[in-house]
């Protein structure tokens, strides 16, 4: 499949100015902007990085560039949420979608391992879509814990937090320049562990209409906090109560005004 991806990238590079994907060299693998003439043998699909953020940074910096991105299902969902918030211009972005394997889907407990490209013009899908994997069993187990004990559970988890902001920094849909987690009004600065529950509940609340289930926050957490259990739960609630599913429909605006305020902060991209 990787050959097919590389061939597609080579083909698209004749029409586009550059394509965001992962590049592996002897120093390691990380996001890179492939351009004509680059060695496409170096293009890989692992590990995972927030490519929606890279694409956003590059679109803002190079306002006339026509770019592409090699994206998995969760990457595309993140692109959708970023586009709703004026952080991605979908008209200037071509998506080369890549399906995840069943094993990858199981590892991520991913319900939607194939990218949905219906709303991305000029996009291509590579690979055979596989069915969604069952949800994280810990979420169901957790749901059995009485409310009174849940507080103690999360308090114990968040006491380990190093306040690295890594869960935010690696998040493919966190972009605000003025972040509530850094606002002394909400979270007292300089404390370790950060204020419980403010720091983590603000993050969780912001995830309600954004989390696309990529699980990169949990992998970046140096304190091994099971962040996605919390985010899966809030996403479930939002889906049940409001019927909103992050990343599903580029034309459906996020339900909370909070995110509209965010959009006003950085609205230099118009679509």
């Amino acid at each position: 499949m990787i050959t097919e991806i590389r061939d597609k990238v080579a083909e698209q590079l004749e029409k586009l100015d550059g394509i965001v994907a992962l590049r592996s060299t002897e120093d390691g693998a990380a996001p890179y902007l492939f351009q004509q003439g680059d060695n496409l043998e170096e293009l890989v699909m692992n590990p995972r990085y927030p490519l929606s953020k890279t694409a956003s940074k590059l679109q803002k910096r190079f306002k006339d560039a026509k770019l592409g991105v090699v994206a998995r299902g969760c990457d595309v969902r993140a692109l959708v949420e970023m586009a709703k918030r004026n952080q991605i211009d979908p008209d200037r972005l071509v998506v080369i979608g890549v399906t995840c394997t069943s094993e990858e889907a199981e590892f991520c407990f991913c319900a939607e391992p194939a990218p949905n490209l219906d709303q991305w013009s000029g996009s291509t899908l590579i690979g055979e879509p596989v069915p969604g994997a069952p949800p994280n069993p810990i979420v169901a187990e957790y749901a059995q814990i009485p409310y009174a004990e849940r507080w103690a559970f999360w308090k114990a988890q968040f006491t380990k937090c190093h306040k690295c902001f890594g869960c935010r920094d690696i998040c493919p849909v966190c972009f605000c320049e003025a972040c509530a987690l850094e606002d002394p009004l909400w979270v007292e600065p300089g404390l370790l562990a950060p204020d419980f529950p403010m720091y983590h509940l603000i993050k969780a609340q912001h995830m309600t209409t954004r989390c696309v289930g990529c699980r990169q926050c949990e992998m970046a957490c140096p304190a091994d906090i099971p962040l996605t259990v919390l985010y899966d739960l809030v996403r479930q609630d939002v889906a049940e109560l409001i019927g909103y599913v992050p990343g599903a429909d580029i034309n459906e605006m996020p339900p909370f005004t909070l995110t509209l305020a965010d959009a006003a902060i950085e609205s230099d991209l118009v679509y």
Binding site: E26, D27, G28, T159, K160, H162, K163, C164, F165, E182, P189, G190, L192, A193, P222, A223, D224
Partner: protein, 561 residues
Amino acid sequence: MTNSIPEFEDADCVLITGSNTSEAHPLISTRIMRAKAKGAKIVVVDPRTTQMSLLANLHLKQQPGSDVAWINGMMNVIINEGLADDVFIEKRTEGFDELKAAVAEFTPEYVEEISGIPAYDLVAAAKMYAEADAASIVYSMGITQHITGVDNVLSCANLAMLTGNMGRPSTGVNPLRGQNNVQGACDMGGLPNVYPGYQKVSDPDIQAKFEKAWGIRTENGGRKTGSGLLSPVTGLSDKVGLTVTEMVELAGSGEVKTLYIMGENPLMADADINHAKKCLKNLDFLVVQDIFLTETAEIADVVLPGASFAEKDGTFTATDRRVQLVNQAIEPVGESKADWEIINMLAKEMGASGFDFSSPEEIMAEIAALTPIYGGYSYERLKNGNVLQWPCPDAEHPGTPYLHKDKFSRGLGKFHGIEYKAPAESADDDYPLTLTTGRIMFHFHTGTMSRRAEKLNKEVPEAYVEIHPEDAIKVGINGHKRVTVSSRRGEIELATRVTDRIKPGVVFIPFHFAEAAANALTNSAFDPVAKIPEYKVCAVKIQTTADPVLEVCNESYKSKN
């Protein structure tokens, strides 16, 4: 470190002392917390409550400077409870009788008198450590920065050997080095008594090896190069040089005329910096090579702009002896240059040969050729993602994840009977509080880098002193009032954090803040062997200072009424 960072995960017990691990070495605390999640026991011995101590199974709050006493006390318990590893002691060590005699008087009750650690807690900690299959000791500057720094380190080694926790995975004595390449700076001979790889300057064979390699003595006699600027070196010195603390002192008395300082900031880092500043100002000539105009650079005669880590290639050696490649990301800022290029240029200016390197890779080849523990390193090997921990003597050697596997470097491990000595300065009527200094998560060392990082400085923008509520009441602090903290050497003004995270009678100040430099207060009394100053204990007093805002309010109130 005798062992590797990933090994902590599989320890059965981790004893942490003098290290605020989760703040000063966060990614090491990750591994320790994983060990705990797998069932390991974590013991923290520290006068402060830290994030790590809150997560530990047991936290002992000792009086600063009492480390030899409580470690001797633990060994006393271990021997009396029959928990010592007799086989290891028999096969791998010598001097056990000396140790046994030395720790005999350190009963838990006696240790409680000295250290303030409750006797039952000490017994519990000793059992937790000694009963574990693989127990690891973690320490940092809280153990070394004392006039008994060497004694403290030897005590840790005694404890590990007594229980056979050496030479196996997830055991050992593991000092966490505080700066990204402090291990490498030591490995590379940035020390007065050794060449690279800890080869002694006083050893004639070693001296001859370096004289030959560096072209000081050639086959047919002396050295040929020189610009006439200086007297050519005709043989390497076998005299052990001065440590930084001695250099500063002798600068004050005029024996040292010149210092050449690369990327260090002693006027923030040194103990008793008011004195250090006086000494350095007495120099005839001071050269500082740095990326910012540091407190030290401000008084220099010449300042040379170096390039930052992001602007050069090279290698750093992490605390677990792991040598890793540093890769250049951008061009040096302005006209700044990589430090290796500056030294190359200066040496050439002085007419010296042997400084014609065109890349750090070439320098590493010379290092490998002359340094047995680095013998197997090359950029080629490091580029392939190999994790290579020294000793790595040749190109085929896989590196050494943990030391002392079958024998110690000296053969048998030697127990040292260590007597307890009180700190150089204790709290008294004039200076009733004990000051201890250290780091916080959001800043680094003298603050040169972290205070210029917006997001880090925003977390903690100013210096503060941590004080226990009982002491705060005595001093008359309420809320976040500003105070003056003074010692016999200086005084600083700063904010307060009243918190029961600190032991009553003890106060803590992070040393990252130039405008309220903790080291204006610290005592430069140092360990006789390691010459390390006693940053972790000195006597201070605290007075509340006038609050300018309150004063304005009061004035306006008075004038209106």
